[in-house]
């Protein structure tokens, strides 16, 4: 198949290492004209590194690159732009005070002294119209939504003459509707003859939208296959490799415990001030025992603030929070932990660990006022033993419990944090667990492990609030999903069958006409 198409990008024997870490180990890659080519793999598989080499951000150690059958040497992003390569990064890299047009022109102003804005505006508008990209060119970028900002980035790449467009994890900040819009744009671009290279770890998007799929694992290319020949199972196997198949985490439908008891968590009309971030407005919801409730929303719409308000990290101005029927909103973080509110924080490095303290000292953080026999004393032996058990049970890869926690990999740090929250939950009567994006950046095995633990808590009768930007994850895990937008809750859906478009509608802040 591939050989029939005119190859536009050819990369042979690409090797790249950072210090002792080999990021790419002799990778070959080919993408043709007019195709959408997915690069699939877990974090650290090498897919982004390969594209950073193509777009001139990194220099390769070994290997060669050809564009349109001509060998090129790419030493800088400028070389890449000249070769017709444009990259849209995971996080939007626009200047937020500039208008869309000014951002698009950046680096292409022409004369040093004077910019003919009108001429540029005309040609940018023409280009946008060609591909059905509707962008308010005169608006400052900061007033545009994440989906539109991404379109600005795409138009910018096209305006700079790209006929190879690379997108790195472009769907993480989008609602399902915006994701669909993005793919119809990409398909139009491919039909117009562009080569679109699409970096992702989401198998569903790949199977739905891409022509060719190349799977990476551990710095090597595993295989390239066409969409017709691929299946979900096969792709997972290729991504995970020898480590076996992740468990499916199937669980019985319906709540694990009776719903008529007192809810674990009952939140009534809480408001927070803008000084803590996105202000929460009149948040009201319940979490019954034995249920996983999902909070869906585009990142930065108050999820973090809600989690922190429940945990006692930020003050609420109004409303109340009941845990098992008792008001807790005036209690300290520590007192709430003692009553069984445990939080898996969003940022595991900044909020989750004490980097230079030992693993066992990290492991008892939160419960440390309660688990030692002699009041006021820190008993290293007790902490070590608890931590050793957790290392075994959760299969945490660490030399021993004395190493500084910063020495662990991200996935193992997250395992430690989840293990710690599980211990807090178990020792405080299995009440409320708040998990804020607990699987972000984890590989499939580690994510599946975390999911298994959340299900275990649920079956023990705890209530779980699962916050995630990944709707697929929420649909898989949750008994109920509520959507948040600009600090307000919209609607509530009961599973197990969810209409993700309806949820996406609410995530974008539009009220449902029909109600849910």
């Amino acid at each position: 198949m591939v050989d029939d198409i005119v190859p536009r990008v050819e990369m042979y024997g690409i090797r790249k290492s950072f210090g002792e870490v080999i990021a790419l180990d002799g990778v070959d890659f080919k993408a043709g004209k007019g195709e959408i080519h997915a690069l699939l793999g877990e974090n650290g598989a090498g897919k982004t590194t390969l594209m950073n080499i193509l777009s001139g951000l990194y220099r390769l150690d070994e290997g060669q690159i050809s564009i349109n059958r001509r060998e090129v040497s790419i030493h800088s992003p400028l070389d890449a732009i000249e070769a017709g390569i444009g990259m849209v990064h995971q996080h939007v890299e626009l200047i937020s005070n500039f208008t869309a047009l000014e951002n698009i022109l950046l680096g292409r102003e022409g004369s040093r002294w004077k910019i003919n804005l009108d001429a540029h505006r005309d040609s940018a508008e023409k280009l946008a119209a060609n591909y059905g990209l509707s962008i308010p060119l005169n608006e400052p970028v900061k007033s545009l939504s994440a989906g539109i900002q991404q379109k600005v980035e795409i138009l910018k790449a096209l305006y700079h003459g790209a006929d190879i467009l690379i997108l790195d994890e472009p769907t993480t900040m989008l609602t399902p509707q915006e994701v669909d819009g993005l793919f119809s744009t990409l398909k139009a671009l491919a039909e117009g003859g562009l080569t679109v290279i699409f970096i992702t770890h989401k198998i569903k998007e790949v199977l739905d939208n891409c022509d060719q799929i190349t799977v990476f694992r551990g710095g090597r290319k595993i295989d390239t296959t066409s969409r017709e020949a691929a299946s979900r199972k096969m792709l997972v196997q290729m991504m995970v490799g020898e480590r076996g198949t992740p468990p499916e985490n199937k669980r019985p439908a319906g709540p694990a415990a009776a719903l008529d008891g007192l809810p674990v968590l009952s939140v009534r009309g809480i408001n927070t001030s803008a000084k803590w971030g996105v202000p929460l407005q009149d948040i009201t919801f319940d979490i019954p025992r034995g249920l996983i409730v999902g909070l869906a929303g585009v990142s930065g719409n108050g999820q973090k603030e809600l989690a922190e308000a429940l945990a006692g990290l930020i003050d609420i101005d109004k409303g109340d929070i009941h845990l098992n029927g008792t008001e807790v909103s005036k209690l300290s973080v520590s007192a709430r932990i003692a009553r069984g509110i445990s939080l898996v924080p969003q940022d595991r490095i900044e909020e989750g660990i004490l980097p230079s303290l030992s693993l066992s000292e990290n492991f008892v953080l939160g419960l440390h006022p309660h688990i030692f026999k002699r009041r006021g004393f820190f008993e290293q032996d007790t902490a070590n033993e608890l931590c050793r058990n957790a290392i075994q049970e959760f299969n945490i890869l660490a030399k021993n419990e004395h190493v500084p926690s910063a020495h662990l990999s991200g996935g193992n740090i997250q395992k430690m944090i989840v293990a710690r929250s599980m211990m807090i939950s178990n020792k405080t009567g299995k009440n409320l667990m708040i998990a804020n994006n607990p699987t972000r950046g984890l590989d499939i095995m580690a994510a599946s492990f975390v999911h298994g633990r959340l299900n275990e808590l649920r079956s023990h009768g705890a209530g779980v609030l699962l916050i995630s930007e990944d709707l697929d994850e929420l649909c898989l895990m949750c008994d109920r999903i509520i959507a948040i937008h600009s600090g307000e809750l919209f609607g509530s859906f009961d599973g197990p069958d969810y209409d993700i478009y309806q949820i996406g509608f609410l995530m974008a802040g539009q009220k449902l006409e029909t109600g849910s």
């Binding site: 660990i353 004490l354 303290l357 000292e361 953080l365």
Partner: protein
Amino acid sequence: MASSGAAELNEWRKTVAEFMITYSTAAALSLICGAAFIASFGGDVFVAFGTVLHTSLGTWGGFAQTLNKFCPLLLGSLAVAFGMRGGHFNIGVDGQIYAGAIGMTGTAFALEGLNLPWPVFVPLGMLGGIMAGWFWGFIPGILRVRYRVSEIFVTVMLNFIALYLVDYLTNGPWNDPMAGEAISLPIPSASELPQVMPKSGAHFGFIIALAVAVGMYFLMTRTIIGYEVRAVGDNPRAARFGGINVNRVTLVIMPTCGALAGLAGAIEVSGFHQSLLLGITGSEGAPNYGAMAILIAVIGRNNPLGVTAAAAVFAVLLAGSDSLQRSIGLPGAAVFVFQAIIVLAVLYVEARRKISVR
């Protein structure tokens, strides 16, 4: 269990080995640089080093001097190190030493009429010094917690306030009219710290300081508050997520730093000067204890035991500094250049090791 014990031992061996490599390299480096420095001034390197060591360790009087310097250096550097571990930069050790000295002197004068025996009077005087130092540390602590004022500025300002307070007291209300200079009346003899070596003049201070260092080590590693201090110092945000009240911990850290340095000031008055005067925060022509304490804390990696060793080295150099002038005609300040070379050598070797690990 057996295997984990062995692993632990191995880990410990590695730590010790790493420690030895770092510090012996740094020691060698600073000896070479120090030698080059002395030679460049035309001095005889071996005579210089020999004289310093002989003066501070080889004579009874010099050894007593070394022990007496060791006490404020150790307590002062513990006051820096404890703050550092908790994420706070205490550069107010000099002010806290002065505050402690004022507290000691004031207590001694206030209780003078009671005719207390020394085993009661001395501890009470020390307590007065500790409390004054505690208060001098409480001010930056509370300003930090309430108004987010950097403790760096506040402790520097408090250094000046304490200095001029001593200036006022020694010239004004507590002035000794017979002395004809800015010095207080002598404290009552029952409030004087007893001597360990009466002939050569070493007082009990170094024993107190050593006991405090061991106590601080225990506090840091074996108590909840020590754990919380280390947690806050390592990552205050994660500590807060773990239920630690960061403000409360700050209000333990800064006053404790002040109390440690305050004890040093009290001992200087009660054990060495027997009066309050300007200049108790260091010897003539030498950097103040507060400045040296920061260097010692850096070399000792803010660990009470490491700080103890580093303070001992600095005490030896400090006590031997005067002899350089006599033996090879170098100014005593050459010793402080050497101290700075040690600090730079340690920092350099550590940085190199960190780079090579990556």
